[in-house]
Symmetry: C2
Subunit: 204 residues, 2 copies
């Protein structure tokens, strides 16, 4: 039997590093490493450099904390966006998801997570103070809470709502109801109950 399962310490090191990535098991890591071995060295260097450049170079927008290359992100520095609207989201992927709807023209505020005592994440670990400060400085008419409808999301929504009491900003939350193409009979009771309670005039 091989002492070193991978027969090459360089291969083993690469597989070990790739294996550290979330959701990448040791078989997939080996498959990826052997794939890279078959590529031109320049291709592998291009991949490696892009990772280091990203980690070293990426910045966070000073206004909304979205990922960006400069002091302010493209959205905050876009003069055609509606600065009176601020949509509060958990993370960068949520910004992308909302942008992909092409339905929103306001700004964002990326919390960097939700309040989760189980994971040791409290309000001070999130960008909540900076949101309150942003609202206090004026110019924001409405804060739209767009967190996932989980217990942690609801807790965070409520915490932010309380923090914004005393300011004259309007606080809204994105609609909860039955998702497009979902089957009514398989919808959970909480969702169905809320969808009934939150019914709106037909034809709107």
């Amino acid at each position: 039997m091989l002492n070193n399962k991978y027969s090459s310490s360089l291969l083993e090191k690469a597989v070990t590093e790739i294996n550290r990535l979330p959701g990448i098991g040791s078989k997939t890591a080996l498959r990826l490493a052997l794939h890279l071995l078959r590529q031109e060295p320049e291709r592998v260097e291009s991949l490696a450099e892009s990772l280091v450049a990203m980690r070293r170079g990426v910045r966070y927008c000073q206004v909304c904390h979205n990922i960006c290359d400069d002091e302010r992100c493209e959205i905050c520095s876009n003069p055609t966006r509606d600065t009176h609207l601020v949509c509060v989201v958990e993370n960068v992927q949520d910004v992308m998801a909302i942008e992909n709807t092409m339905q929103y023209r306001g700004l964002y505020h990326v919390l960097g997570g939700v309040i989760s005592p189980m994971d040791g994440i409290g309000p001070s670990d999130l960008q909540i103070e900076s949101l309150v400060e942003r609202v206090r400085q004026g110019g924001v008419d409405e804060v739209i809470l767009a967190l996932s409808p989980t217990m942690e999301g609801d807790t965070t929504n409520f915490f932010i709502y309380r923090k914004l009491e005393g300011t004259d900003v309007k606080v809204t939350v994105i609609a909860r109801g039955i998702a497009q193409n979902d089957e009514l009979q398989y919808t959970d009771e909480v969702t169905l109950g809320r969808a009934l309670a939150g019914r709106i005039p037909f034809g709107r």
Copy 2:
């Protein structure tokens, strides 16, 4: 809508590069990139360096063409291995699979693929000539064909068998039959037929 979906060109570049890996879609690529963004810069550099070092440093054994760090792989340079036995396999993963059985003490010969006209892979693209040369140089008593039992594997087996005619080496092929824990009723006819034809005395 964002002009640049990823709001950071550095993030976009990294996601594009990761997305080029086989089996990694754009969503997984984004997830991995954002994971790396949360790691220490040194961790990301360690990953990047391991990939470049592997691609630049890995060599192929001059005897058996297995992946290694030196001129000869650990197996070929191990004095306790049986040099009279050479097991022919398709690739590096197959060497690992056979090593993991801990049942084999001989050497290997890694072809680097199998003959596949559909994929434009002919005998000259594989390490077949070097196998014949190795046998001709003497010292090898038995060549064990351990390719996958596919049409390409069978074709390659037969090609090697013909190439080795005229030498006095014994050519064997690994046993085909019903896999451990397989259900007889669900076994395909070819396998079941071969298992019957290839029956061996009980108790061996």
